[in-house]
């Protein structure tokens, strides 16, 4: 337990004063601004109030930008080790490989959660600014929880890719491509079997009925998270990346 705590603190020190969190602040802000604007311009067609506003906020953010944004953050986490001879000091730290990986995973998951909290905060604020007086639907809590879980899956996949691929940009390209692929695969009804779709499915983006196949979704998340963790730890154990 102490080892896990130490690796988390070490990662925090590495990220201190780094402006990477700004990306999670700015991109959802742009999306919320334009999504709200679009909602206001089409308010006569979009009559479901909070639900309609959510469709405008979530569609492109969930499929296109959030996977790439999480991918950018994960790339940054591993870039610190890929640069110069940092792998030597990283892998010789007196903690287990799982603890080393967990430090990175914790930071990635934390930022995914905070990013999602910010998305929902903006949704609430924008709804109020649009003059929606009815309360926010209770289901929004479920969108948040399942969406965050889907985001964690993307985070795990991207951490594994960024560990494997030394380039900073390539895993981000894969995340963008994955998100676009997610749109097509979700459209075919196979989203729960594809990691980049899970975030959008959990958030109920582009889902007029707001339904979720909970069993399939949760099993998909568990399988992807555990597989990625196992692959990453195995890769670390194999030695220098």
């Amino acid at each position: 337990m102490t080892a896990l705590y130490k690796t988390i603190m070490a990662e925090r020190i590495k990220l201190r004063r780094s402006p990477v969190w700004l990306a999670f602040f700015c991109l959802p802000l742009i999306s919320a601004f334009f999504g709200t604007n679009n909602y206001r311009m089409n308010q006569e067609i979009l009559q479901s109030e909070w639900l309609s506003l959510w469709t405008q906020h979530s569609l492109f953010l969930c499929f296109l930008f959030m996977p790439a944004l999480i991918g950018t953050y994960c790339s940054y986490l591993w870039r610190l080790e890929h640069l110069r001879n940092n792998w030597n000091s990283f892998l010789t730290a007196p903690v287990s490989h799982f603890a080393l990986y967990f430090g990175k995973l914790f930071q990635g998951v934390l930022m995914t959660i905070l990013g999602n909290v910010w998305v929902f905060f903006l949704y609430f604020i924008c709804g109020k600014l649009c003059g929606l007086n009815t309360p926010v639907p209770k289901a929004a809590l479920s969108w948040f929880l399942f969406g965050t879980l889907g985001g964690i899956v993307v985070c795990c996949i991207q951490l594994t890719l960024s560990l494997w691929i030394r380039s900073f940009a390539i895993p981000i390209g894969i995340a963008l491509a994955g998100g676009i692929g997610g749109m097509l695969i979700t459209n075919k009804g196979l989203g729960c079997f594809y990691p980049y779709s899970l975030y959008a499915i959990g958030m109920r983006a582009n889902n007029p009925n707001m339904e979720l196949p909970a069993g399939q979704f949760l099993s998909g998340c568990v399988v992807f998270i555990l597989s990625c963790c196992a692959i990453s730890v195995w890769k670390l154990k194999r030695g220098e990346s």
Binding site: M41, L64, F65, F168, L176, G181
Partner: protein, 250 residues
């Protein structure tokens, strides 16, 4: 010329071409999926709809693709910490020019390949008639200028910041801005809206019949200004990048 050759030598095993063609492949898949099973009225105006769809796809994806390309070209120097050494061997401006030219050549090939594949797909779908070479060449030229402006912006950022997260987030933000501009306008003076301004085809959607009518755009003075703005951005980003990079402490 030698510096340019060296740029291609540096990226020889970095799979830059592969990564760019992979991104283009994703774009093609998206496009092919969106344009599958055309109806009769879609076949009649197929070549025009193809140009329109391409401008939309490029508008959304090119800011990010260009940020990936620029980052791949500039990051070699950051990782190897080679700027100091290179500056003692060549003038800083020539290094910047070589990187810009390298990206430009990749871009020319990439866009030509994209156009060729989509035209081939148009014939496979059975679009009526042939593509109008005048509009297709104009579209290619304008799109190239627009993508070049984005690439030069990203190259500037990627070479100035060692932390590649900054340029890549700008690229992602650019894609988002472009996507959202599409909802409100069909031209923009922002660099990320260049692909929309550069579109030579417009469309009109009839809500009742749910039929889209495509037409070759007749540019209003504001739209012409937006197209001119693309070239202004190319010049501004090139000069800004060159000046900032030359004066930068390495």
């Amino acid at each position: 010329m030698r510096t340019l050759q060296l740029e291609f030598y540096k990226i020889r095993r970095r799979k830059v071409w592969l990564s760019m063609f992979a991104m283009l492949g994703v774009q093609l898949l998206w496009g092919l999926w969106a344009m599958r099973n055309p109806k009769d009225w879609e076949l009649a105006s197929g070549w025009m709809s193809l140009l329109y769809s391409l401008s939309v796809l490029d508008g959304v994806m090119m800011p990010t693709i260009m940020s990936l390309l620029a980052s791949r070209l500039a990051d070699i120097e950051h990782k190897g910490n080679t700027y100091k050494q290179l500056r003692t061997l060549r003038p800083a401006a020539s290094l910047y020019q070589a990187k810009a030219l390298c990206g430009l050549i990749i871009l020319v090939v990439l866009l030509a390949f994209q156009a060729a594949v989509f035209i081939l797909y148009g014939y496979c779908l059975g679009y009526e008639g042939n593509p109008d070479p005048r509009y297709y060449l104009l579209s290619y030229g304008l799109k190239f200028a627009s993508c070049l402006s984005l690439f030069l912006l990203q190259l500037l950022l990627s070479m100035l910041f060692a932390n590649q997260m900054i340029p890549l987030v700008v690229g992602l933000g650019g894609s988002m801005v472009a996507l959202l501009i599409m909802f409100v306008s069909h031209y923009s003076f922002l660099p990320w809206g260049g692909n929309l301004s550069a579109s030579v085809v417009g469309m009109d959607w009839d809500e009742n019949s749910r039929i889209i009518t495509y037409f070759y755009r007749e540019y209003s003075p504001a739209e012409i200004a937006a197209v001119v703005c693309i070239f202004v951005w190319v010049a501004v980003f090139y000069l800004a990048g060159r000046i900032l990079f030359t004066r930068r402490e390495v």
